[in-house]
Symmetry: C2
Subunit: 279 residues, 2 copies
Amino acid sequence: MIIIKTVKEAQEFSRGQRRSGRKVALVPTMGFLHEGHMSLVDKAKRLADCVVVSIFVNPTQFGPNEDLAAYPRDFDRDRALCEARGADAIFYPETSEMYFSDASTFVVEEALTGTLCGKSRPVHFRGVATVVAKLFNATLPDFAVFGQKDAQQVLVIKKMARDLCFPVEVVVCPIVREVDGLALSSRNKYLSPSDRRDALAINRSLRSAAAAFEAGETDAAKVRGSIVAELQAAGGEVDYVETVDARDLKPLELLARPLLVAVAVKFGPARLIDNLLME
Amino acid sequence: MIIIKTVKEAQEFSRGQRRSGRKVALVPTMGFLHEGHMSLVDKAKRLADCVVVSIFVNPTQFGPNEDLAAYPRDFDRDRALCEARGADAIFYPETSEMYFSDASTFVVEEALTGTLCGKSRPVHFRGVATVVAKLFNATLPDFAVFGQKDAQQVLVIKKMARDLCFPVEVVVCPIVREVDGLALSSRNKYLSPSDRRDALAINRSLRSAAAAFEAGETDAAKVRGSIVAELQAAGGEVDYVETVDARDLKPLELLARPLLVAVAVKFGPARLIDNLLME
């Protein structure tokens, strides 16, 4: 496994792979890898001959009062995990390699980003779309593999890849959870043991919502209300609980498939997101 | 020479070229080709083994009161010109191939586009940057060749290619003029014979500005004033006359190299642009 530090080297690496007839899959990450990321690496290995994991804590997707400085990092551990899982390369650029000080070009998506996390984090998806476009151009993959935990990000990236004609197939893998139901996230590191216990309310409330929907409940306000109540009862500070069309994130008042129930909630210092997809 | 109608075919064509070890150069145009475009094709042929000319009148770079519907088109003539000049392919997509009806992703450049044509045409450069990003991803070129007549466009595209890490070298060719000095433009077709005579004031006034600068004149306001006076004396309706730093388009009050003097002016129905670059 090689470590690639520059965009130019990444492009040359990928073009070399393609000249040898090998397909390339990218797994874009911000590092501090967990089994969720590893499931993306496994998927990438099944899709392509060569797997590139990018590790870059992208400053432009953090707002001014967010956790950029605190975001957990452990490159040595990440490298060992990628190597053990059979990745072929890690693209691990410095911030100065990814952003010139006078950078002024951005990729914006305007239909899907005014709601959910885009509402709470106004610059977030502009940062995400821009950096993913850059990562696509740096690593020139045939496939890019993302996790469903970031449900809105997945839709934004798919739309961007389609709208800008990127020759990249965006592939999505299911959420990976701890045995007790907590969705894996690098930000789970922020949770104290008691916060972590409280945070189990997230998945529990989503599972209750799924059960209600499957039993015939279609009143979206009622379902959202139950989730909010369960999160607050556990001490969570709710950012949003939304019931939306899973294709375009338009709010649903009458629940119907394809349904996405999306939640963002703070437990202690950690803002966590999770979701339920009923296709 | 082949005609390519879809993004997917264009990507396959370019990847096939590259697999055969051939470099690809793109000449992006809106058609109604003239010797200015042909000089770009000649340059592309010197740079690469395979030349793709794109012909697409991009609706998103026209404002609501601009000349999208009137913009001149003659595909048969364009095809013959490209073939005669040795292009290998024309990428000639329908608007519906380039834009889904629910397209919502845009490329924006924010440092260079608030001035000159970006001021007069507020949506123009968002449309240009977005379509060029799409054309890059469709035709996957090693080189993309643009004309210096669109001086601001050249800077915006170079910045976009750099900021988004496109693996494309942006190459710029000098303005091509008629023997009497009029810069070639598809929009010259809009000029009546008398408009056309009047429009010679554009190049004449720029040449006077160059001569004054070379003789030691550094008072930008005075130079701009002379150009405006000469254009108005010829019956032109001035949109802008600007003296700017040729690297970042920042206004200059004291003329110094690298200097760009940029002009937009209407003669009859035609809004024409031209410029003088002193590097």
